[in-house]
């Protein structure tokens, strides 16, 4: 078994009396999509934010390729290749598609304090950006301001921005939220192809998509992981059926 890219051990986070993350351990291996499911309020987004470095856990550790990320902020983690999408699409709305992706490529290059040459004529950044835009399926939309994109296109833009970060892994927080069946399926196919570039930790509400795409699935309930396994194992797991799938059905 290959070394995991991302390793989370004993993560805990409480807000007052609420245990949002309760001794969570999971890992993400090369080439896999690891689905994370759980009912509303299970603490999925809180977990993602701790991995991304946006909030600090009370205890436990996040390791990227064996390296502890304690004390590294969100920008530092992004620089290390942690590419994140947000539950509510988060892009620069006045920038065009191309500008957004160039911004991301610029972040990955680590050279922001350059004051003289025009960034939109930087051949290296543009080549990366165009490549990522094509991969995300947004070709032809480069000059459209992000604010004018359709919802599904904005999701793709976030994927293109994540790709431009030269990611070590993807943290995708409900990438299919609010998309129609058609759009969700197309995005699923896109994610399916991405796992070979970098593994994906996929938080998703769309059960069909999670079970179709994931190599492994973890189930988070009240801040605890109650089961991890292949989609078949999770479907068959009695406890998961009782607390989660059963309630939904």
């Amino acid at each position: 078994m290959a070394e995991p890219i991302l390793e989370i051990t004993g993560l805990r986070k409480s807000f007052g009396a609420l245990k949002a993350t309760d001794d969570v351990s999971l890992d993400l291996r090369p080439g896999e999509i690891h689905g994370l499911i759980g009912p509303n309020g299970a603490g999925k987004s809180t977990l993602i934010k701790q991995i991304a470095g946006e909030i600090t856990p009370d205890a436990g550790e996040v390791r990227l390729r064996g390296r502890s990320l304690s004390g590294i902020d969100a920008a530092g983690r992004a620089r290390l290749g942690m590419a994140r999408s947000f539950q509510v699409s988060s892009v620069a709305p006045e920038f065009t598609v191309l500008q957004n992706v160039v911004l991301s490529a610029q972040g990955a290059s680590g050279a922001t304090f350059r004051f003289f040459r025009p960034v939109m004529r930087d051949a290296g950044l543009l080549a990366t950006a165009h490549d990522c835009i094509t991969r995300a399926g947004l070709s032809g939309r480069e000059t459209v301001p992000a604010a004018e994109l359709a919802h599904g296109e904005r999701r793709k833009l976030e994927i293109a921005m994540a790709l431009a970060l030269k990611p070590a892994l993807f943290l995708l927080d409900e990438p299919m939220a609010g998309m129609g069946t058609e759009g969700a399926r197309a995005l699923g196919d896109l994610l399916d192809g991405l796992r070979h570039r970098a593994p994906i930790l996929l938080v998703e509400h769309d059960m069909d998509a999670v079970f179709r795409l994931s190599d492994r699935v973890s189930v988070l309930v009240y801040g605890r992981i109650i089961a991890t396994g292949s989609p078949e194992e999770i479907r068959a797991d009695a406890e998961v059926q009782r607390v989660y799938l059963g309630e939904e059905a």
């Binding site: 969100a74 920008a75 994140r84 160039v102 610029q106 922001t112 004051f115 960034v119 970060l165």
Partner: protein, 340 residues
């Protein structure tokens, strides 16, 4: 995912060229006004045009942080005044033959504009570094209030410091000099101010299009996203704040020379507010907004001011109209839409 389907090109390409035309028109209007006043032998009008150019430089400094970075600084009078007092104090010592300090070396002050500008920009930049480092820990209305508070601190410091005139201000008996120019000739000083204005606007345009500028404009729109691509907004905004403070201080030094007088009024919050008004009138975040705004403000001050003592009432109505119905300001109105 085929690259073959290229949708019809949108009409976006026309927009920037139209703004460029408007910008060229504005720059030309300032030059024509100044030169026209010179041909008609109207030194007062030349001075008025010079005032517009200098205030536009100050506004351009603010525009870098407000228009591009989204930081509403309500304390930019601080840098304007620091520039003004730098000019006044250096000239004061040089003209009175009272050395500014004798240790570790003799420094007698200066009446040379290039040297004064350098001092003004360094001091303005340092003040912005200190104030920015503290203020940028806050956002939104707290940022507005804390920049105002720092501005007021410096204002009251100037009032209570008798060595350089205190509340009465400090005269500059002879306008400071620039190599090769007679700065006391209004048209030559006007030309100098316009040259500095265009140089500053060129600098800001270059910054806006650079990697730094891309990150700065992203910081205005979405700081969370900027973090997620590995760029910390704090550093980007602080560097912009320092450059902004230096530019506004340069304008202050020129303004002191224009009036041949520095007083605490250059540091007052009214001035901070006027700079904000220039940008709102001109169209926040547009390169030439400070020139359009300052030009319109000074024009109205003289036209309406001649009609009524209460011209600011009518001016307030106009400002209200701009805020409610023409968010892009004068330049947005003339170019007919948002900029991309």
């Amino acid at each position: 995912m085929s690259a073959a389907e290229i949708p019809a090109p949108r009409a976006r390409r026309a927009a920037p060229s139209r703004e460029t035309l408007v910008n060229a028109g504005l720059g030309l209007a300032l030059l024509v006004f100044g030169l026209g006043a010179w041909l008609l032998d109207e030194p007062f009008l030349i001075t008025l045009a010079t005032k517009v150019a200098i205030l536009a430089i100050a506004g351009a400094g603010l525009n870098l942080v407000l228009g591009y970075g989204g930081l509403v600084s309500f304390g930019h009078a601080a840098y304007f005044g620091i520039g003004g007092y730098t000019s006044g104090i250096l000239a004061h010592h040089a003209l009175n033959y009272t050395p500014m300090f004798e240790w570790p070396f003799l420094f007698e002050g200066s009446t040379s504009m290039p040297l004064i500008w350098l001092f003004a920009m360094v001091l303005g930049g340092l003040a912005a570094l200190a104030i920015g480092a503290l203020s940028l820990r806050t956002t939104g209305v707290y940022f507005i209030m804390i920049t105002l508070a720092f501005g007021q601190m410096i204002f009251y410091f100037a009032i209570s410091w008798p060595a350089y005139g205190g509340e009465d201000g400090l005269p500059i008996y002879v306008r400071n000099g620039f190599p090769g120019l007679n700065t006391l000739d209004p048209i030559q000083f006007f030309a100098l101010a316009v040259a500095v204005l265009f140089a500053v606007l060129g600098l800001i345009s270059m910054l806006a299009h650079s990697r730094f500028g891309l990150a700065l404009q992203a910081a205005r729109q979405n700081r969370q996203r900027l973090m997620a691509v590995g760029i910390r907004p704090g550093g980007v905004l602080l560097v912009a704040f320092v450059i902004s403070g230096a530019i506004t201080a340069l304008a202050g030094a020129l303004y002191a020379d224009l009036n041949r007088f520095v007083s605490p009024s250059m540091l007052s919050w009214h001035l901070s507010g006027e700079l904000l008004v220039f940008l709102i009138l001109g169209g926040t975040g547009r390169l030439f907004a400070p020139l359009a705004g300052a030009g319109l403000y000074i024009t109205l001050e003289h036209v309406l001011g001649g009609v009524s003592d209460y011209w600011q009432f009518y001016f307030g109505l106009l400002l209200l109209g701009v805020v409610l119905f023409a968010r892009g300001g004068v330049i947005g109105f003339l170019t007919g839409g948002r900029h991309g």
